[in-house]
Amino acid sequence: MSQNRFIDDSKTRDIILDSIADGVFTVDMNWNITSFNRAAERITGVLRDEAIGQRCKDVLKADVCGKNCILKKTMQTGKSIINKTVYIVNATGLRLPVSISTSLLRDKKGRVVGAVETFRDLSIEDKLRKKITQRYSFEDIISKNHKMHQLFDILPDVAISNSTVLLEGESGTGKELFAKAIHNLSGRKNKPFVAVNCAALPDTLLESELFGYRAGAFTDAKKDKVGRFQLAVKGTLFLDEIGDISSSMQIRLLRVLQEKTFEPLGATESVKNEARIIAATNQNLLALVKKGIFREDLYYRINVVKLELPPLRERLEDVPLLVARFIEQFNAATQRNIRGVSGDAMSVLASYSYPGNIRELENIIERAFILCKSNIIGLNHLPDFLNSLSKDNSRGSTPSSLKDAEAKFLLQALNSNNWNRLETARQLGIHKTTLYRKMRTLGIKSPLSSTTATC
């Protein structure tokens, strides 16, 4: 009688488990599988009869099995783990993302007798997310901004041209990512990509770094040193912060670009330069040329193709995409499962001006990962200066008077036109003297000096 009841119980349990769309299995205290439902069969490709009695890791085949076993953590701490994303390899060798949850199993007396694991196949969500991301991404660069898409459109042609490229953009706008994208799209993609930050090295060191030296060239030169130009042979040499190099280094670089040869320090023979040069700067090189700080002939040598990367404040529509990417990266790096950013935190992030550009946004998310103990990043996980901005915004969203509202509107218009008052007046459909008068009465002053402000 009790035997029949036991059989009925296990049949009922199997029917219930099989009706669940997620994969479910249970293990005993030795990690051997004691039940395994139909969805688990479908996801893993292992039949129930083959799975029962086997160690769970041999059946699930997840990348966390072994040292980072989630069931083991639950058994040790007694705490359930909810929706942890891991990868499994199914019986046919397909690598699938799954979301895993675990919990302890107890008998009637409350003693732990094993654990249960449920897992959901995320491959469809993953494919959809990748499809959406692909629409907005180019190599490793992600954007839905129209200026960036114009750059994406010309990048393949720029890449195959082999011409010297100048990337201009503020610090943190992703100049190195663009340089790598150009390298990867070119015929040189299987050759080295070598990056040098010209501002990080003093002049003499930069010279030996770039061109190398021969043994005996100076007191401590015991052996030959290969320079970055030679390391990047047939590949790409990325010269970052080129606006910061000295005038003597400018002459040496000009010579390499003109004659396509260079001499390592102490060498008697020239070496042929076979590296493609991509230069980058966060300064306005033309302005430096006009000031006589940067050589005009070198400027025109490196400015064969110029790409201007917009700062993040001019493509704030990319903030949610970038935030999602950083969360994905930090989740993978820190084994966390943060799902996203709360609505109010996102609206603060999407309205900040980011003087440090994408790098600053990345740092904000990294900091939030440290502080966030739940799986949603909230306002309280953002830096204080952003929180005060949020308070200002909330005050600003309900201006105390029409005067405040007008001032805010004018400021936005002036900012979007880079404080060009003539353009702003044209955009607003008012005469420029009306704009000046309004600025004066509302107490709006240009942040630019009188010499640089454009009328």
Partner: protein, 128 residues
């Protein structure tokens, strides 16, 4: 003949794509000449690394299709979806019993049904 085993401590690592350690064995017909354990980078760099180390055979746990294809393209014979202690797996490989039940992961027998390249055969081939 050089054999690499994707390992995690004393056992074959469950998923090679996530394995941190490789055991490299220099095998001769009557036993083994040397055994080296090394920490390796994960994933895509492994096929080139194993090729540069002149590895002929890789024994591993579960492996994703793209990674397995990369090993095959590098000319390395792959025995995948294998489980068990490294020493026992090695002994089974020597005796041509790696395709048998305790060493094959559940549900993966069909992958091995048509494979006939055990240790003995591989060694004979290398001697010929």
């Amino acid at each position: 003949m050089r054999i690499a085993i994707g390992a995690c401590e004393e056992e074959v690592a469950t998923v090679l794509d996530a394995a941190d350690e490789l055991t490299i064995i220099e095998a001769i017909p009557k036993g083994k000449k040397s055994e080296v354990r090394m920490n390796v980078g994960r994933g895509n760099i492994l096929p080139a690394l194993l090729k540069s180390l002149q590895i002929n055979v890789l024994i591993c746990g579960a492996i994703s299709q793209p990674l397995e294809s990369a090993f095959l393209r590098a000319g390395i014979i792959v025995h995948s979806f294998v489980r068990g202690r490294v020493d026992e797996v090695m002994a089974a490989f020597k005796n041509g019993k790696l395709e048998e039940n305790p060493f094959i992961m559940p549900g993966c027998h069909y992958r091995h049904r048509f494979r006939k390249c055990g240790y003995g055969k591989s060694l004979r081939r290398s001697r010929d």
